[in-house]
Symmetry: D2
Subunit: 276 residues, 4 copies
């Protein structure tokens, strides 16, 4: 005999765009949301749907709740959704994940237009609310923040074995796509820190004398924690998007760290959690 040992279900990729129509200007909130439930759903796996909240209902609920109050901080909206679904008797845990696409105002005749926007780029802002019997954890983040430094980055002093061919370098390109997720202290209600944390991450990346991706990651995490009182820990994921110096010697040319080939694969992948 077999049994359902773990289960989770929900609706993913709910696309919500809300326009907050203030008198003097419009604001755009552009979200992709996932709602996932855990709980006492074994009957559903046996073919009895009486406890199975339809995922279509989850989607409808997202749109209906979006109408009923302004979305000021996405974290607060995700908490409202988690509370809504957490009231269902069968539900033990609710996960609400949101990915925000930021939009910037278009400049027209030197002034920001009140009703026209341009996508800020590949960067996304993330929120995860995890509501469980032992409490609710709110995580905020940024992802796909792609950065490059062309000075003050090296990698040397690493061990060499029979399969090591990498040369040591004190001047390489460092290119990475930063994903950062920071956990707010339990009960925190102020989610305004994203701008400060983002600025601390960028400034530290720019200024750091980097001996490795790990080295810079730790400095960035430390700066992020210093930039916010209510954040307990931050997890950084930094793929090393290798840019290889092209060997131009066969063509009678030198290459003083000028001409690189950007590669997609393979890539180094560095992850760590920095905690206060």
């Amino acid at each position: 005999m077999s049994a359902v040992a773990w289960n989770r279900y929900g609706k993913a990729a709910i696309r919500l765009v809300k326009i907050e129509r203030r008198e003097e200007a419009h604001d755009v909130v552009d979200l992709t949301l996932d709602v996932q439930l855990e709980g006492d759903f074994e009957d559903v796996y046996a073919g009895d749907n009486r406890r199975c909240i339809a995922t279509d209902t989850m989607k409808n609920t997202v749109y209906a709740l979006a109408r009923q109050a302004p979305i000021d901080r996405v974290e607060a909206f995700a908490l409202r959704l988690a509370d809504h679904f957490g009231r269902e008797p069968a539900v033990s845990a609710v996960l609400v994940r949101a990915i925000e696409q930021p939009w910037a105002r278009i400049e027209a005749s030197g002034r920001p237009d009140p009703h026209a926007f341009v996508q800020g780029g590949g960067e996304r802002w993330t929120t995860l609310v995890s509501r469980r019997p032992d409490g609710t954890v709110v995580t905020s983040g940024v992802t796909n923040l792609v950065v490059m430094k062309t000075a003050d980055s090296g990698f040397s002093g690493f061990p060499r074995d029979r399969y090591t061919t990498l040369a040591e370098t004190d001047d390489r390109l460092l290119v990475t796509s930063v994903t950062a997720e920071w956990t707010h202290r339990r009960g925190a209600a102020d989610f305004s820190g994203r701008g400060r944390i983002r600025a601390a991450l960028l400034e530290t990346f720019a200024r750091h004398l980097s001996r490795s991706v790990q080295h810079t990651l730790a400095a960035m995490g430390e700066a992020a924690l210093a930039a916010s009182d209510t954040v307990e820990a931050i997890t950084l994921t930094m793929p090393n998007r290798h840019h290889l110096l092209v060997d131009l010697a066969p063509f009678g040319l030198d290459n003083p760290n000028e001409v690189f080939v950007a590669t997609d694969a393979p890539y180094g992948l560095i992850e760590a959690t920095i905690r206060r």
Copy 2:
């Protein structure tokens, strides 16, 4: 003060194609591998690289080990890699993940050609070896196995609240992209079950009288466990790729479950682990 509370690093997306050149025919093994290490690497985050095995070395090691023995089962190759890196003193855990792209022989004049291949499709086969101090766990799987059933699938009897609009149905299209991962019993050395498990998943999907995705998922998981002695548990992830019946009434036409619009988002997402 802050500290590194958790860390992991490695090389991802190592692309390896190995041709096993037997006398009478060639075989292709086409893998994308990740190698990830956990361990005593805090010094690296402080800028000291003496323990930092370069991810470039990890990549080289994959290619060198691929040369030194035939890759018969990917699980066995991943175990060899995990053992290699697990011998490093600083390392506490090794994760080796492999995604296999299957290739089929081209039929030429009614016979399989010995040296020519066509990609079997979007389906991929997965392997994960997790080597930790308390033992090594081997997981195998398939992913992106996209299936559709046009009969014997309904969804009704679910609860209705103020945000429920979904109609009940006893005849809908069920389309999903199956991801399955099954865990082998500790110490198992026989990894030949993929074909049997895959067949059990497909056959059960085809034959099941489905009352929900959950209902069919459980049946598929049970059949997979029945098809293999050495598998302890299987986790299935089945997104519900909704196909919506098009309303043709405005055009004076009926639509007896014939014309559908396939949608990408949002989608239901059903996940569960079935255990013996």
Copy 3:
């Protein structure tokens, strides 16, 4: 002053899945369609919509026409759509493009199931109907047909200049994703040749003694024309997905054409039209 010198508009990515419900078994037709119109639409660009057939109407028309007759060959369905829109007075040209996702029946207990299907893979079948005042051209094709040959492929004898470093080889992996588009003779009504042409392409790829991608492309095109009476010309696009031999010498190992790294970029791109 400026003017509209050329214009085209329409609806793209219309997702249509039709189930043909025969007594003994179901058939699936899974299409992504584009409908594009050219014609006398300058007024629309000046803000007058009286001639602007809404792209939403195009989408509705696709679904309504799909209901009104079986979709036997996609080419015939695309011709019906092109004729429908070509009757609009403002329209001078109609383009209907269709990408078909093939599905195969699931084998259950050794027999093909009548109502359950598995996606055949990444391969897609294409159709393009171009209806213009001087006549209608029908093009059929396959795309993303990914093939590899591990023998009988070389590349040598090419010119060498100061920027040439590539070594000559008489034994390399040849991997490509074939896109083929063949044009039917005007007025042809038999579109049943896809299977024969596809088989000719695959068999020729497998059997050819290849001196270059171009060399094999020409042989494949010739075989495709020989396999069908009604095809006038075929255009083949064959990216060269380079698989590079890994240099294992630094590790004291040889590499007798066994261990390769598959690369995505850059890639050679070879395109040609073969005509009777």
Copy 4:
């Protein structure tokens, strides 16, 4: 008998990152290049490689030429490449296509850092040089410039037939991903207009009282031509990324143009060339 009626080949997706290391600051040029040749290459299709410039040589040439002079404007670099390959006797036409990834300087302590950069986003800048016997055409552009306007956009007055269900509206969201390509007058040597054209496109999009995508496209094209003396024509491609108003009536809620679902497919696709 069959023959090669048309052919083209080359290297695609050449990834080049060049760092211009000025004393006071670094500049980044990040390009993905395609080089394609047409000419007298029939022999190659017959298996004779004596005229087949290896695509690997094309790639090497790109890197070698990148080293030998600063890349100030990408158009000028592409012209240098086209001239290099155009000197080969067998070559009749050269196409060089470049996609530029813009990078912005990171602000650190309120000043732009001289050596650290952040990716500006999904927007890319394009260049196409087409060198043919009858002359050389240079096209510049932007692509993936994603914009939204939340006011001053309607669509009404379009014709209604039996398949029309779309409601008229004088207030909808207009969201599009602008691709613009403008052709420079023959012999033009000043390629500095991208910023002015981009600003004209954005400002016109923001300010226009839009009766349709076509209407706004024409106004944007006109403004772009007005912003540059040396541009002869501009082609704009503007997919209509539909944002659908969510029907909240079943939940007892109104929806005064606030809550939308963003959809990917299907989408309207509007293309036109505006010429002086």
